[in-house]
Amino acid sequence: MSAHSQILLTSSEGTEFIIDRDIADKSMLLKCMLEDIGEIGQAVPLPNVSGPILTKVIEYCTHHRDDPNFLSANDDVAADIDEWDLEYCKVDQGTLYELILAANYLDIKPLMDLTCKTVANMIKAKSPEEIRKTFNITNDFTPDEEDQDWVDEH
């Protein structure tokens, strides 16, 4: 029986989540907070993170719980994303962006890297028209503005 202490988190809607201490430590924000204030029975409120997103984040941290390379995030751009992470990121765009915000707020660098890389891959190697289609953006340039050499520095 492991002696992991448990942490209580509250999402923005008030939903409570109970997670092990070592999973909570994946988030630098929580780690520092808990080191400072020590063990308390009260919940840690996370007003910026909604329930479903928090669930997803906890899922990520739990899967990578025993990952030795977690904190020394691999900066190798050419490194491929592993299978589980790829599946993890197959969510709708809104969720993905919320995950970025959550990872940023909770300061979970590997999750931040993963989600940003996923978004980057959605934009990379595409023409402006293809980008507009992917994200459903309207082109608000006037025709002559478009012709103008915006990329004269290119």
């Binding site: 999402s11 479903p52 765009q93 890297d113 978004v119 934009i123 953006i137 608000d140």
Partner: protein, 432 residues
């Protein structure tokens, strides 16, 4: 009293209001995304919509390289005596730097006008690295005083590279003098060619002596450097305590001596591998990341040398003399095919060194060529980026199947773009 039972999942929340537009508006969220982009990707982004234009333009200005084509084009037009709008071009450059200068983080400036604009514009607050070229020096452009430029910046950029005669300062870290290797000195009909060459060599060494903080040094392409004694050259080089990157061009110095004298060396380009073949088994040079060999070598010799260079990431060989398949196979058998990202791995008692990421090699067409061995080589180095060899179909097939990063290959029409396009089509056809 609290009951520690896991609570059921809450009902789904209403549709989130975060859109991509909101995301890219926040610079600290945009930055990790842009870090994965190449320049063409940023250029596509700024054409998407006005909002995207606003968000991505600063990223476009992070690195300004005046050696790139559009700038060179501008410079050429400005330089031409007969082109009228000379002042207009200069004014345009100044205007551009004034409006976008505060985004610039890395600047390569080979043109006085750019440097003056940076010095005059107090807005370049984010400049962290500055590379100043003296490429046009021989065209009698007044060399700008680098000290003035740096003094004008709010805080001196962290790295300043390049040098001209007047700019020996402790900030200079990199000496690369293309004008020293100006091929014009070899033009027939020039009187006193020897004197000219001598002056160039002297000029080079006086600059080296004035700049003991050099980190990168490239020798000029002058065979005349070999007229100096090796002791002299080594003595001069030893004064450079910080040297990490050395390009010896044509100078015939011994590789082993260089590596021994400069254990901190990370990049080395040298004429041949002399001396490396007789290294004792224990001698290892862990800091070397990039090795370039400027002559034709026997590939099996190269493979043997790899054991002494465990940190090697990139190998550039000018030419490979390929031996008969049998001999090659035996040597190759000792090298594992998989690239382990964590460096040497152990298989039982044996330490297995992963092959470095060979990026480029050229195969001499005049030497007897064994296509089967080339194909074998190619399969062992899947990270090949560049290959120049007139290869037959079997080798082309091996390259196609194994070298996903290949960008430049002799004989492919249209170059890298065509290659990538054909690969994408090929993938699509296979998936159908």
């Amino acid at each position: 009293m609290t009951d520690f039972h896991p609570t059921p999942l809450p009902p789904p929340t209403p549709a989130s209001t975060i859109t991509i537009n909101a995301l890219i508006y926040i610079p600290e969220l945009l930055q990790p995304i842009v870090d994965h982009f190449e320049r063409p990707d940023i250029c596509s982004c700024i054409l998407v919509s006005r909002h995207w234009n606003q968000c991505f333009t600063p990223s476009l200005w992070h690195t300004v390289d005046t050696l790139s084509k559009p700038w060179q084009e501008l410079f050429r037009r400005h330089d031409c005596k007969y082109d009228l709008p000379r002042d207009k071009i200069a004014a345009r450059v100044r205007e551009t730097i004034a409006s976008h200068g505060h985004h610039i983080r890395h600047l390569t400036a080979t043109w006085n006008i750019v440097l003056e604009a940076v010095a005059a514009n107090s807005g370049c607050t984010n400049l962290t690295s500055l590379v100043v070229g003296s490429v046009m020096y021989h065209r009698k452009v007044t060399p700008l005083d680098l000290k003035t430029v740096i003094a004008a910046l709010p805080h001196p950029p962290l790295t300043v590279l390049y040098a001209t005669d007047q700019t020996a300062t402790p900030l200079v870290q990199w000496l690369h003098l293309p004008w020293v290797s100006n091929r014009r000195i070899y033009r027939t009909g020039i009187v006193n060619e020897d004197l000219r060459r001598k002056i160039t060599v002297e000029r080079f060494w006086s600059l080296v002596q004035q700049n003991p903080g050099l980190v990168r040094l490239r020798f000029p392409t002058l065979g005349a450097m070999n007229d100096l004694s090796k002791e002299y050259i080594l003595e001069q080089l030893l004064a450079l305590k910080e040297l990490r990157d050395l390009d010896l061009e044509l100078t015939l110095l011994d590789a082993r001596t260089i590596l021994r004298l400069f254990p901190k060396l990370e990049r080395l380009r040298i004429y041949n591998m002399d001396g490396l073949m007789v290294l004792s088994a224990q001698e290892q040079y862990r800091n070397l990341r990039h090795l370039g060999l400027r002559t034709y070598v026997l590939f099996t010799n190269v493979l043997k040398v790899l054991h002494h260079l465990p940190g090697l990431e990139e190998l550039w060989i000018k030419g490979v003399a390929v031996e008969p398949v049998g001999h090659l196979r035996t040597t190759m058998a000792s090298i594992p095919i998989t690239l382990s990202p964590n460096g040497p791995s152990t298989r039982g008692d044996e330490v297995v060194v992963s092959p470095p990421v060979i990026k480029a090699f050229y195969i001499d067409e005049t030497l007897p060529r064994d296509d089967e061995s080339i194909a074998l080589l190619v399969r062992r180095f899947p990270r090949l980026v560049q290959i120049r060899a007139g290869v037959n179909r079997a080798t082309k097939k091996a390259l196609w199947e194994h070298c996903y990063y290949l960008e430049e290959m002799h004989g492919v029409k249209g170059g890298a773009e065509a290659w990538k396009r054909r690969r994408a089509e090929d993938k699509r056809k296979r998936c159908k």
